[in-house]
Symmetry: C2
Subunit: 196 residues, 2 copies
DNA sequence: CCTCAAGTTGAGAGAGTCCTCAACTTAGCT
DNA sequence: AGCTAAGTTGAGGACTCTCTCAACTTGAGG
């Protein structure tokens, strides 16, 4: 790749990072090109589809989340580890509206799928996490906090922490009351994301 | 008003009710006009702004929610009343994507504002509801369940009940752990809605 | 310096939505 | 039946966003 092309790619990524973070994934591509000081044609040249740009921008987050999960697994207290992981993910959501959109749209399909399952089972075995929740129920936390982040990020930037705290209190073993309907199947959870 | 005009108004409302329910508030107005068998000009003639149509379609829901709140206030068990109210509102959300959008966008400004405050205080005095939550925290339930409804309505229509049950378990006095950040002020909660 | 593959450009086609308005139609009164 | 205010119509202007492509520019190897 020619060096001016590399530079333009970097500029596009930097612009996209900024705009996605401030306004979410639906920012017009023309605006990203303008912000990058590059024409719309160049943007399409580098990133034929919006998803290619999104994937490139948020590549690092996959590793970040995996790191969070691994650290959480080594926590002395399994429940604390579980809480730390969810808090970490929600902090990423709150820090970047683009990642918030991505997390909401990809909640249960995430990369740390296997890691999360172990995290959850470990927290259940330790007696901290109620035993009647499944991995697919974690989507409720992501979706819920995601909605709160969207609504409040400008006007009450820390409000999501309160939402998360309430949600976590509902996940504690001590709080458990029998749940109604069965959990979503993995297939259902996956399908739920297509619709948004 | 001429009787053909009345009829067209009814047709428009019926069409809007159907389409809003199925697809949410952002359905194109042209499609509503087509579904009603009426031209787009007539729609604009009757309802100059989208909000006028939305208000007319969901007028009845205001009364429904007020009724839910009043019934909840007379429940023998204050906590059960509180749960019944929230469940009722969420059922409305799940039954109608348009109302879901409306509830999410208008969560804390709702009509039963005063009624809801009494409902909440009553549930707290009875010892069922944790005492550190405020009215503005209810928005988390509406926003959260709203997001789950949106994501799952096609693929796992009952999933929101599980989300709500978990949220309610987090609101129980028994589950209470100290909450982080202070609650949103009413002003913040109101402002949060403008952004969406 | 020359060449040309690689890269950039931006006007414009296309799709979708909102909203208007001048021309037309009709309900309902006399 | 005739009149008129009330109502309807739908083409079209305005805006926004996506995506393409033929013409132009430039980096870098020879």
């Amino acid at each position: 790749m020619r060096k001016d092309a590399v530079q333009n790619r970097e500029r596009l990524l930097a612009a996209a990072r900024r705009l996605f973070a401030d306004r979410g994934l639906d920012v017009p591509l023309e605006e990203i090109a303008r912000e990058a000081g590059v024409s719309i044609g160049t943007l399409y040249n580098r990133f034929p589809a919006r998803d290619d740009l999104v994937a490139a921008v948020f590549e690092d987050r996959m590793a970040t989340v995996a790191g969070l999960a691994e650290r959480a697994l080594t926590a002395a207290d399994a429940w604390e580890g579980f809480v730390g992981f969810l808090t970490g993910v929600c902090e990423l959501q709150a820090a970047d509206l683009g990642y918030n959109d991505l997390a909401v749209r990809g909640a249960p399909t995430g990369p740390g799928h296997a890691l999360m399952r172990r995290l959850l089972e470990r927290a259940q075995e330790s007696g901290g996490l109620r035993s009647d929740v499944t991995l697919t129920d974690m989507a409720f936390v992501i979706w819920g906090v995601g909605a709160t982040v969207r609504a409040t990020h400008e006007v009450a930037p820390g409000a999501w922490r309160r939402h998360l705290a309430l949600a976590l209190d509902g996940l504690r073993a001590g709080a458990a009351r029998p749940l109604p309907v069965p959990p979503m199947t993995t297939l259902q959870a996956r399908a739920a994301l297509e619709g948004c």
